[in-house]
């Protein structure tokens, strides 16, 4: 029968060799598979006399294991922390699925607004532990501590934050005939200085700018600078959310003034040229400030180290953020916090770890040891002379005292920021009027907030949140 079919197909006998060759390759593959199974990695056995807790942090730091973990493990013997790094961009999915799997880490370090997790019952309230151990909560900066609360309960402990200050390039100041020891104190001075500091090439492209106004989401993120109109609005006393947290007030007089100021500022510079100019902003030695493209910028506290690393010859100064006559300065915070997910196996041990990490001594140690570390959240640490020793840090401390949290609308955080930046882009780049752009944005944010609040009420009527 075999032969017959072969003849009909006019097929060479070789096809059956092919078939057995296929068989061999399948067998080989199975053999390889079996071999690999034998060498399959087994989970590490846990030492039984120690309590072990797992801790998740973010990848991308130079240290594979965070300093606080190593320090904690070294400082005592009864609890051992196993640290796991998760990819920075995927934190949320990973933590989400971990909580769903009823097998979350015992302690987790995150950057996103804590309300996102707290309101979804993902974290354990810490009030009892705080009260029991008499934990000093006044040690933390107000802007950071405020963020840790939801519905009157505390859900996390701040560990570090970003703090910002106004950096300016002394060399470029000199070249433009400005006094390098007199940085601008008001935003109008910034505008005036910018006119002197902006240079063009032969074809009319901008090659250097005094101050670049940040109004685009991707750009503010890549250049580590906050949104300019937001800072101005905060300085003028803007409030974006009603006190009861139910009404969004994106359209408020101070923010509108800030946007009008922004439009005024950008008038002398063609928007397309500015866009092309900002397209050249990169990382490291191509960062707008380190590459001396922009002479004045609001930058975070890691930048002195950053500049020393990438452009050690840069001649720059740090000053208070400019403001308006009669208005206080404003700054942004950005909090990293530690929390205990619900369903964790050993909350007591996790709590010991968290207290340790947030303590003054450890924060100081961490700051000195790590490269480009973030600002400690513990005020006692930042008031210490060790911290202030190189003089540059005092100004960041001042700014953090005046900082506001970027978690402006906790229950609709992401929508708020998406709409916030879309509106800014449409106003500056898309030539939409301020009323129209803000109006659309506010409607959308309000709508999402309403939905979130309604849903939240519904859920809380059905599920028990706190064991009171």
């Amino acid at each position: 029968m075999k032969v017959k079919t072969a003849k009909i197909m006019n097929y060479p006998e070789a096809s059956f060799e092919e078939f057995s060759r296929l068989k061999t390759s399948v067998m080989t593959a199975l053999a390889i598979g079996a071999a690999i199974i034998l060498f399959y990695p087994r989970s590490q056995a846990r030492p039984t006399d120690q309590r072990t807790i797992s801790f998740w942090s973010c990848s991308g730091q130079k240290e594979d294991v965070p300093f606080i973990v190593t320090a904690f493990n070294a400082a005592q013997d009864s609890i051992r922390v196993l640290s796991n790094a998760i990819p920075w961009q995927e934190q949320e999915k990973k933590v989400l699925t971990a909580i769903l799997s009823d097998n979350p880490p015992d302690a987790v370090s995150q950057f996103i607004p804590i309300v996102k997790w707290a309101s979804r019952m993902a974290l354990m309230p810490l009030d009892e532990l705080i009260a029991r151990d008499d934990f000093d909560t006044a040690a933390f900066y107000p802007a950071l501590w405020q963020e840790m609360k939801w519905l009157g309960h505390v859900f996390g402990i701040p560990v570090s934050s970003a703090s910002f200050a106004f950096f300016y390039n002394k060399k470029l100041f000199r070249e433009a005939g400005l006094d390098p020891e007199r940085p601008p104190k008001t935003w109008d001075e910034v505008a005036a200085y910018t006119k002197k500091l902006t240079r063009y090439d032969a074809s009319g492209n901008i090659i250097q700018m005094g101050f670049y106004p940040f109004y685009k989401s991707a750009l503010t993120a890549s250049q580590n600078s906050p949104s300019t109109p937001l800072i101005i609005a905060w300085e003028k006393g803007a409030s974006f959310l009603s006190a009861d947290g139910k009404r969004v007030t994106l359209i408020n007089p101070q923010y509108v003034e800030a946007l009008e100021w922004l439009l005024d500022f950008t008038k002398p510079y063609p928007v397309e040229k500015m866009e092309a100019f900002s397209a050249g902003f990169g990382y490291g030695d191509q960062h707008a400030f380190t590459s001396e493209k922009v002479a004045m910028m609001i930058l975070p506290d890691i930048f002195p180290d950053y500049i020393r690393h990438h452009a050690p010859e840069l001649d720059y100064g740090i000053a208070l953020t400019p403001t308006f006559p009669g208005c206080p300065i404003a700054s942004s915070s950005g909090c990293w916090w530690l929390a205990i997910p619900r369903g964790c196996k050993d909350p007591e041990a996790a709590w010991e770890f968290i207290k340790f990490a947030a303590s003054k001594k450890v924060q100081l140690d961490a700051y000195s040891v790590m490269d480009q570390n973030l600002f400690p959240a513990n005020r006692l640490a930042t008031a210490d002379s060790i911290f202030l020793r190189d003089g540059k840090m005092q100004i960041f401390v001042t700014h953090l005292e005046h900082a506001q949290s970027p978690t402006i609308v906790p229950m609709a955080h992401d929508v708020f920021w998406r709409e916030f930046y879309t509106a800014q882009e449409l106003i500056v780049y898309g030539n939409q009027s301020i009323e129209k752009a803000l109006g659309t944005a506010q409607t959308i944010i309000q709508h999402e907030l309403d939905k979130a609040l309604t849903y939240d009420e519904y859920v809380r009527s059905k599920m028990k949140f706190f064991d009171e």
Partner: protein, 300 residues
């Protein structure tokens, strides 16, 4: 062959048909049914994954069709991307496959070189293209400048952002798609080409009357597949542009992702997903109807 159901051969085939298809059916019942049913249920609810769903009926669908400007915006962006990219990419791969369908010396190396760009993915791919398409110092604009042409702002311009992403796709025309076309080309019997030779036809006649029809099942395959994939474009926009500038690259799936994992509005995202599926299904069915008339199956 007799087609009546009384034909014993046909009956046996029917039984065997079910047997052979059983792995998929079992797999679907075990792994597929529950998630699909649940996602449909969620689309009728407000739900944030970590808490309980709140049933709201057609509320999500009503909102996204009648009140949500981003639904329409993202649908338009996605349609633009899909219908421009698909023909470019399918034709490009086919032409490349024809080019490498021979036994010239070193052809293996050429095929491998063509294949390599298609396996660059993720962060690396995005970093690469952010650099290539940089308006100031990217390679593409440098080459354009060399020819005296003005270079657009590419990913930073609301008009050029989608074409930029489509341009990126073109580098993958030597990938798996080309491979499939190659396999199909190699199944075309020599004899058919010899007929054209005898008739005195040239390469165009061969291509138009032999190659294309014989490969049409695979062309059809890839057109349908590319439409399905293009409608779900996500990664490039997520990593490189985050939907900007000015929402010009806010694709449907990206908007869905924001709703699902940033806003935790899983109910709304599920509604978006089901609506997308319906749209893709309709477009695919249309393609099948057209395909019946246009595609040539040797085995039919």
């Amino acid at each position: 062959m007799q087609k009546t159901t009384k034909n014993p051969l046909y009956k046996k085939q029917a039984w065997l048909g079910y047997l052979f298809v059983a792995p998929w059916i079992i797999g679907f019942l075990v792994f597929g049914l529950y998630p699909i049913v649940m996602s449909f249920y969620y689309s009728l609810c407000q739900y944030d994954v970590l808490r309980i769903p709140q049933f709201i009926g057609m509320g999500n669908y009503r909102e996204l069709l009648f009140e949500d400007p981003y639904f329409w915006k993202s649908a338009w962006n996605t349609a633009f991307y899909t219908f421009i990219r698909t023909p470019l990419v399918v034709i490009g791969s086919l032409l490349l496959a024809v080019l490498v369908n021979n036994a010239m010396k070193g052809i293996k190396i050429f095929r491998t070189i063509f294949f390599i760009p298609s396996i660059i993915t993720g962060v690396v791919l995005s970093a690469l293209w952010l650099w290539l398409l940089n308006p100031q110092y990217g390679l593409i604009n440098s080459i354009l400048a060399f020819f005296g042409l003005p270079g657009p702002l590419w990913l930073q311009s609301p008009h050029w952002s989608k074409p930029s992403i489509i341009l990126m796709s073109l580098w993958s025309i030597g990938g798996g798609r080309m491979l499939v076309f190659l396999a199909a080309l190699q199944g075309i019997p020599k004899a058919l080409y010899e007929v054209v030779d005898i008739d005195g036809g040239g390469w165009w006649k061969k291509f138009r009357y032999i190659t294309v029809p014989m490969v049409s099942p695979v062309i059809f395959l890839w057109t349908v597949l590319e439409v399905i994939f293009s409608f779900q474009v996500f990664t490039e926009a997520y990593v490189m542009t985050k939907g900007g500038p000015m929402n010009s690259t806010l694709f449907y799936n990206l908007y869905l992702y924001y709703k699902a994992f940033d806003d935790f509005s899983m109910g709304y995202a599920s509604a978006l997903a089901w609506l997308l599926m319906v749209i893709i299904l309709v477009v695919t069915l249309i393609q099948f109807i057209v395909g019946k008339k246009v595609v040539y199956y040797e085995g039919a």
